[in-house]
Amino acid sequence: MNKLLLGVLAAVAPLWAETIVIQNANVMTVTQGTFKGSIVIRDGKIVEAGEKVTVPEGATRIDAANQYVIPGIIDCHSHIAIDGGVNEGSVSVSSMVNIRDVLDPEDIAIYRALAGGVTTANILHGSANPIGGCTLPIKLRWGKDAQGLIFEGATPGIKFALGENPKSAGNPQGGRGATTTVQARYPATRMGVEDVIREAFNEAKAYKAEWDEYDAKVARGETSLIPPRKDLRLEPLKEVLEGKRYVHAHCYRADEILMLLRVADDYGFKIRTLQHVLEGYKVADEIAAHGAGASTFSDWWSYKVEAFDAIPYNTAMMVKKGIVVSVNSDDAELMRHLNTEAAKAMKYGGLTENQALSLVTINPAKQLGIDNRVGSIEPGKDADLVIYDKDPMSDYAKVQKVLIDGSVYFDRDTDISQRAAKAAEKQQLIEKEKQSQPRQGGRGAGRGGQGGQAQ
């Protein structure tokens, strides 16, 4: 039975089955406790989860005896799947750029993250500018095109950045690994960072007023009006003021965090998440009062001067102050084991297993405003699920299968069984190339191909 199922999985990946039942699993729902039971999936959604479920006729069964099922992991801060540079670092306000335009659905990091149990990621612009580019959450639907990755219906975001990165002279142009640098540009201090953000919102307010006036005239039935010029730089900031776009702000130090919260209050918008927020524990009350979420690293610190005051207890301390906290990766490798990143908060700060698991599931879902769709195992939610062979909070746990929208997008057995064939295919191409190479210099290139496939 099991073998047959795997055969099917191997044949069509990702597999779309109308009805799937995951049976005999340790189900960690995150929001509704942990139990030994089953999950019924139909048309990409969870329809039932419990100790005893009604198994629909003709359902595909996945036997998960002695295995663990958790909701798909959500990474609130990632830079994978981006083509042609993570930063538009040439200007202090780069809100005209949009990650949506440069999604690369063939970035292998997607598959690797998927194999680490991640099903949703918030794809952010880099931190080169006080106000960076527009961002969006994606589902790691490996094999789909760029449009197929987009988390449909999710509120888009915009990246802000405070501190060293936006004020450093000569930010890397076009992201990491780039060889050219841009000239120094304003701002060069933390004061300047604040000024850039305030100036941008002054402009955005005037821009919004202009459009509001135009829209009102249109609503009154006035005709032959010329609309204001659409400005792609100010449009997203207008959306922030209207609450239609989330602000995800890169920050480290307590002082700059307070600065940003004050600026947001002054202009009447909310900071949706503080990203990294390594000194969040110092100003947790203020963060909680503002209603901002916090997305942090488990235990990275001292890698630069503004990270010297970071402590691994940050996560737990902020959780205990009532902040919605998530643990993120900001890195394609770290992204592959966010389960154990979350588990560190059990050691540092004594969170319960469920609280720790929340850091990479329901909490980031809340931060991204998609908790009605993902983040826990509940009827009605998307069937984004990860099956581990051992307790996912353990270093020894390995991802066995990952489902998104009820389709299997990663299967460990399938992956392993295909490796030999892939390696052979690769070797064959290398050999073929080697054989054709000596002829390249001489006359009559391509003679080798003539017999086999001419016309």
Binding site: I82, D83, G84, G85, V86, N87, E88, G89, S90, V91, S94, M96, V97, N98, I99, D101, V102, D104, P105, E106, H125, G133, D145, A146, Q147, Q173, G174, G175, G177, V182, Q183, S224, I226, P227, R229, K230, D231, L232, R233, K422, E425, K426, L429, I430, K432, E433, Q437, Q440, G441, R443, G444, A445, G446, G449, Q450, Q453, A454, Q455
Partner: protein, 460 residues
């Protein structure tokens, strides 16, 4: 009486222009018309730069200089649908969007500033500074008949190039030129404005600043089209009733964009093809994709077909690096690219996607012959290969009514070979451009590298 006079006048004008009044007749040659079945034994008559007659039973005019065509084959002159020939010192057109092939994309830096447009701002602070933009340029205005590459590519059988300015993001509009030599630049121009060449790499000489990343370039292109639409709106309103209205400022960058009836977008990988097709649809612009390295992938063929967009496929097939680091092994994806890319034309043909082949900087006859042969060896029929180098490019630019095939009334751009085109042993006997006969220059390099300017990004 009047009529006779006019005809006479026209004749004088025409002969003054083309300087070739006597007819040329190639008789008893194999004629590959492309627009119809080949004639095993036929005659082509050329006069005043045009094809006067073609067929199996065509009377040879008494004044004709006769070419004995036994053993010769006549093809329409080849058309390079994306070229920089005629603009001296211009870099080769290249599809360098994002990461193509191996390593980072190398932006095509110009070899010489000969064709450098007016200096742009030193460091663009945003779209308002119109960075890397010379959209108002017309290749026809930049032509230099002294470009030595004209003779080089003509010797490979090319009679026509769609020559584009290629520096910057909005580089300007291409023009269709006939590769005659020693004429005034204006005599070479067949069509002045073919469309806007857009690249997603910054050309040199534009200073730093915005945009620096791919997403910045895309945002910039989007903003330009929004601005152009708004500009048009304001201009129209002002033209209608200027009283009491602030005068709109003249913006040559937007004028150039508005004057372009189609855009050329770079895309090599499937991801890029999908991205740029969607983007063109969003901008509501007729698009021609150039690059097309991964058009061997069924998904790429599918999206192109769905969009109904033509694609110009680079004949600079991806190759293994010459001195690879032995420690480095290429990924399966890169190996597959190299293996399958030359097979793309055959697949595109089969799927009915409108495509044409462009030289992408290959200039030497032998390199071009080899590149086409590679596509033929990978499944493209010889007929379809000829079509992809003649009638298809003409159709893509809407000029099939005047060139691309051997038909009466079309421009007399012909290629006469001994042996079948693209064979190793085939030799080009003569080339007719606008009815003027040229003989190929000898291949000076003896094969191998033919590059005189920078190679396009990520391929070699």
């Amino acid at each position: 009486m009047t009529r006779k006079l006019i005809t006479g006048l026209l004749f004088v004008c025409a002969s003054a222009g083309a300087q070739s009044s006597p007819a040329v007749a190639i008789v008893n040659a194999k004629i590959v018309r492309v627009s119809g079945p080949a004639l095993a034994r036929g005659t082509v008559v050329v006069r005043n730069g045009l094809i006067e007659a073609v067929g199996e039973n065509v009377a040879v005019p008494a004044d004709a200089w006769v070419v004995a065509g036994e053993g010769l084959t006549v093809y329409p002159g080849l058309i390079d649908p994306l070229s920089t020939v005629g603009i001296e010192g211009a870099p080769n057109a290249a599809a360098t969007a994002g990461r193509g092939g191996r390593g980072a994309a190398t932006p095509a830096t110009p070899a010489a500033p000969a064709a450098a447009p007016a200096a742009a701002v030193e460091r663009a602070r945003g779209p308002e500074d119109r960075p890397s933009t010379t959209s108002w340029l017309l290749a026809a205005d930049e032509l230099q008949p002294t470009d030595r590459r004209i003779e080089t590519v003509r010797s490979a059988g090319y009679t026509t190039t769609a020559t584009f300015p290629t520096r910057g993001i909005f580089a300007g509009q291409g023009s269709l030129i006939d590769l005659s030599s020693g004429e005034k630049a204006g005599d070479m121009v067949v069509v002045t404005a073919l469309g806007q060449y857009i690249s997603l790499s910054r050309g040199g000489g534009f200073g730093g600043g915005f945009p620096s990343a791919l997403m910045g370039m895309i945002a910039y292109v989007r903003q330009i089209y929004l601005d152009a639409a708004h500009y048009q709106l304001v201009k129209d309103a002002y033209a209608k009733d200027p009283r009491g209205m602030e005068r709109p400022a003249y913006d040559r960058a937007l004028e150039g964009v508005l004057a372009s009836k189609r855009i050329l977008f770079p895309a090599n990988r499937l991801v890029e093809i999908d991205r740029m097709l969607r983007f063109a649809a969003e901008l509501k612009q007729p698009v021609v994709i150039y690059g097309g390295r991964e058009t061997y992938r069924p998904e790429a063929v599918e999206v192109l077909k769905k969009a109904g967009a033509p694609v110009l496929v680079s004949m600079r097939w991806p190759e293994a690096p010459r001195d690879p680091n032995p420690e480095d092994t290429d990924s399966l994806r890169v190996l597959e690219q190299r293996d399958k890319a030359p097979g793309a034309p055959a697949l595109l043909e089969k799927a009915g996607v409108h495509f044409a082949l462009y030289t992408d900087g290959l200039e030497q006859p032998r390199d071009i012959q080899r590149a086409v042969k590679k596509a033929i060896d990978a499944g493209l029929s010889r007929e379809d290969a000829v079509r992809a180098l003649t009638l298809s490019p003409a159709e893509i630019y809407g000029v099939a009514d005047r060139m691309g095939s051997i038909d009466k009334g079309k421009i007399a751009n012909l290629l006469v070979t001994k042996g079948e085109i693209f064979d190793d042993r085939t030799s080009i006997q003569m080339i007719f451009v606008d009815g003027r006969k040229y003989t190929p220059a000898t291949d000076s390099t003896g094969g191998g590298r033919g590059m005189t300017t920078n190679p396009p990004g990520g391929i070699q």
